[in-house]
Symmetry: C2
């Protein structure tokens, strides 16, 4: 399967680049660096960087130029998981079959490791943007990432998610959580890749539509797996949403409607990608694959 | 006293600008915004923004252009205090005479409020940089702020500080903590202001020297006040360093040597500022004032 080779190519490139970002381990700050690396290399699928790279290649021709931004979005995603797993938030001991950051390094270092990853993401993007003769589209991409990660994006979604534990919430509020907590940085990945590749406004709008559908479908699929998934494959225990009395798409609409919604969103993604013909094939196959995943 | 009017002018401008950054309070994310504002408007002295504005005015003529960056450094400073106060870190219930963020909003929201302030700082800087025809020096300033705030700056210092509780540490390590946890973003304030104002390389080097001396002196003075200060004036209880068996300049060298060190550093600051003649007067008086402060 050629697309799996392409996926492997993207993830290998990303892992290599991420590895090169940490070289300073004898310094007095080595503990926080070690904690950051622990979570950054804990078996993440590199989905967001892959989306950014694939979106870039719809428009641009020099893939390495997108790597600092792809690395940054992965660091931001990872920091959000570290902070989300803390006892004061979701209080999870395991993620991807490994102990969570605070279980290994303690809560204080885990908080700092999250802060460190978030801040380092900006350092990496800004350092790259500064090195360019014309930095405009790099700054535009960095700003896309920033707004998607902030209080009107991911952090906003995390806030409402945290406040919604043990409550039945409205469908509107659930959509706010999904669109902001999950879809926002998926959308930003696609948009930032497209912007760096030189995409025009209309393409960015299309990336936004694809990202929102993909993010929503991805989250619903996550919630489905929390009910019907296999713990061994997931690397974490299932049933945690129900245990926390969390409203999810399946809990509000039922499993059948959830499957249908995922299918419907996947079709919308494919329709939008059809615009790019052959070029859109990788993202199309990847989207379908994500919706059939078991972990 | 004219310099106090100037100081008041800077802080009023800053408070007004910060106020204008939060207008969205009916949105679902209102809790995290409220928590961010709680700490941002909890009576901070706005020292870092004031330093940035004063450094800007050594070189530039349009003070408002520095405000997004001055606001950002204050948000980064505030986020670091919120996270530092958490039970897993310093475990402080009061700051500036008010309950700390997590005592009011709970730990989960306090973590998110810190994350939100850090991320919003970048959003505000990037949005401004994007609006400029030539964004180079704004990106340079943003990058200064970013490196000073990260694992090779403030977060590095916080990490070593956290690891040093209940330990006697070497003088070198103590200097690492002070230079990174405290001095780095003070230096970045001066440098970023100078860069946006159009300063040249030699001036930036001078700002760096001033910032490091000022940060170190400021931290030693803080540690002195934790021993001899007045709780009512400080708005927090004294003796907390000793209680936590924290190595400080006074604990390693004694009070007398600490006073001398502060004096010596203040002289170095004044010597460097002498280069700017009349223009450097405000920063000179401010530095001396900070070293004689009681809170």
């Amino acid at each position: 399967m050629e697309w799996k080779q392409q996926l492997r190519g993207y993830t290998d490139l990303m892992n290599q680049y991420l590895d090169g970002l940490f070289v300073n381990e004898k310094a007095p700050n080595k503990t926080v660096v070690e904690a950051m690396k622990y979570s950054l290399f804990a078996g993440g699928k590199r989905l967001r960087p892959v989306l950014m790279m694939a979106a870039y290649e719809l428009f641009g021709k020099d893939l390495p130029e997108v790597l600092p931004y792809a690395a940054a979005i992965e660091m931001i995603h990872t920091y959000s998981l570290i902070h989300d797993d803390l006892p004061a938030m979701d209080n999870d001991d395991f993620r991807r079959g490994k102990l969570t950051n605070h279980k290994v390094f303690g809560e204080g270092i885990a908080i700092l490791a999250g802060d460190g990853l978030l801040n380092y993401a900006y350092e990496v993007m800004l350092r790259d943007a500064l090195s360019k003769a014309d930095s405009k589209r790099y700054i535009q991409a960095t700003y896309e990432v920033a707004t998607a990660s902030g209080i009107n994006g991911m952090i906003g979604g995390q806030t409402v998610d945290l406040e919604s534990e043990n409550k039945t919430i409205s469908a509107d509020l659930l959509e706010y959580i999904h669109l902001n907590k999950t879809a926002a940085i998926i959308t930003a990945s696609l948009k930032a890749g497209a912007i760096i590749g030189g995409a025009q406004e209309a393409d960015c709008k299309r990336m936004e539509a694809i990202g929102n559908s993909l993010g929503l479908a991805f989250q619903i699929q996550d919630d489905i797996l929390d009910i019907v998934g296999d713990q061994a494959k997931l690397g974490k225990k299932i049933g945690s949403d129900e245990e926390k009395h969390k409203s999810t798409y399946p809990s509000l609409y039922g499993l059948e409607a959830s499957y249908n919604k995922v299918r419907e969103l996947t079709e919308a993604i494919c329709n939008n990608l059809a615009f790019y013909g052959e070029g859109g094939l990788f993202l199309k196959v990847l989207s379908s694959y994500l919706m059939e995943r078991e972990s």
